[in-house]
């Protein structure tokens, strides 16, 4: 049973770290990706709410949590600062859906996919194993990272619930 009283919400383009018994929560991931990093030894977890694939496409912006290619590294740093053991950290990702059917725009059509790809690449660069994912589709996802177990509960409106 996940403790819903102690929960930190991670907003769009934010990243947060928490330790058991505090859990992390992201409401409604559409094309965004929720990158969950977790260290079982210290029961420390973190989520980055990634909006865009790469920092390169942006001008004069330094919010690393917003971009797939920078968020993983930034989240890892925060997790280590919070006392997590680097060698035990694993990743789970959710989101990257395709919400609107935009016939006239090829870029936005694949935004979810591109976000997922950029996050996966960043995880590889940081040597963090991706142990589970629930990405793609055409529906939003609300996720909760349970810092007791590292399980991620995924809720949707018409597509049920699952735990990865």
């Amino acid at each position: 049973m996940i403790n819903v009283n102690l929960m930190i919400t991670v907003g769009i383009a934010e990243l947060r770290v928490a330790r058991f018994p505090t859990n992390l929560f992201v409401i409604g991931l559409g094309s965004c990706i929720g990158v969950c990093l977790y260290d079982r030894v210290t029961q420390t977890g973190g989520i980055a709410h990634v909006m865009l694939p790469a920092l390169i496409n942006a001008r004069g912006n330094v919010n690393r949590a917003k971009f797939g290619d920078t968020a993983v590294e930034a989240l890892l740093e925060e997790l280590l600062k919070a006392g997590a053991v680097g060698s035990g950290i694993v990743a789970k990702i959710a989101g990257g859906a395709h919400m609107f059917h935009l016939a006239d725009d090829r870029n936005s059509m694949k935004l979810g996919e591109r976000n997922a790809a950029s996050v996966k690449l960043a995880l590889k660069k940081c040597n963090i194993p991706l142990v589970a994912e629930d990405t793609g589709g055409q529906h939003g996802r609300t996720i909760i990272l349970d810092t007791a177990t590292g399980c991620v509960l995924i809720k949707t409106i018409n597509y049920g619930e699952k735990i990865i």
Binding site: A13, C32, N61, L111
Partner: protein, 203 residues
């Protein structure tokens, strides 16, 4: 320029455009359903992404969204959001029939999509007239899902350049029934400058 650096004079000008635009939209809607619809003065605000969901009644709300892309002298995105329950009421007004099913039927989705398109279209027409700038907008795209999921998927366009969006909250009344709809107008940064120059509010 960014939304954050908007001067009071520019914000006031923007409010005026919004007022006229939403006023036009409500007139159009009244004509369509052939009954009186009233509105409150829209609340407009410039908000960071993180606060948008709270301002519009909770990020986990199940909502219907109508989305249009704007291209031309002004470019950007516009999103009209309504809780699904409210969208049901709106659909029953349009279709002049009630349904007990909590989900939106295909017909109801279509009615909400059209209404969203009329509302956003009227706003954009007012904007075009007031600024003498010409731009076109896409056909409406529709989906129902968690609010944050829809918003987050639209914000990417602006996400690359800033962290704030223009938020417009409108309350429509039909008899005693209240319908709340939220607009998110997300012009590209350079479009905002052009808009103000055209209506003569330099700073």
């Amino acid at each position: 320029m960014d939304f954050k650096s908007l001067t009071q004079a520019r914000l006031d000008a923007l409010k005026e455009i919004v007022n006229i635009g939403v006023g036009n939209a409500v007139t159009a809607l009244s004509q369509l359903i052939d009954d009186k619809i009233m509105m409150t003065v829209p609340v407009i605000d410039v908000l960071p992404f993180g606060e948008l969901s709270e301002a519009s009644g909770g990020g986990d709300a199940y909502v219907a969204g109508v989305y249009l892309r704007i291209a031309g002298a002004i470019s950007g995105d516009i999103l009209f959001i309504m809780p699904v329950q409210e969208a049901k009421k709106l659909a029953s007004l349009m279709l002049k029939q009630q349904s007990d099913d909590p989900a939106l039927s295909e017909m109801e989705c279509s009615a909400v999509k059209e209404t969203g398109s009329i509302l956003t279209g009227s706003f954009l027409n007012a904007l075009s007239e007031l600024t003498s700038l010409s731009f076109s907008y896409s056909v409406p795209y529709f989906c129902t899902d968690i609010f944050e999921a829809i918003l987050g998927s639209i914000l990417y366009n602006l996400g690359a350049v800033g962290d704030c969006a223009l938020f417009i909250k409108t309350e429509l009344y039909h008899k005693t029934e209240k319908l709340v709809g939220n607009f998110f107008f997300l012009p590209q940064a350079n479009s905002l400058d052009l808009m103000f120059e055209s209506i003569g509010v330099k700073n």
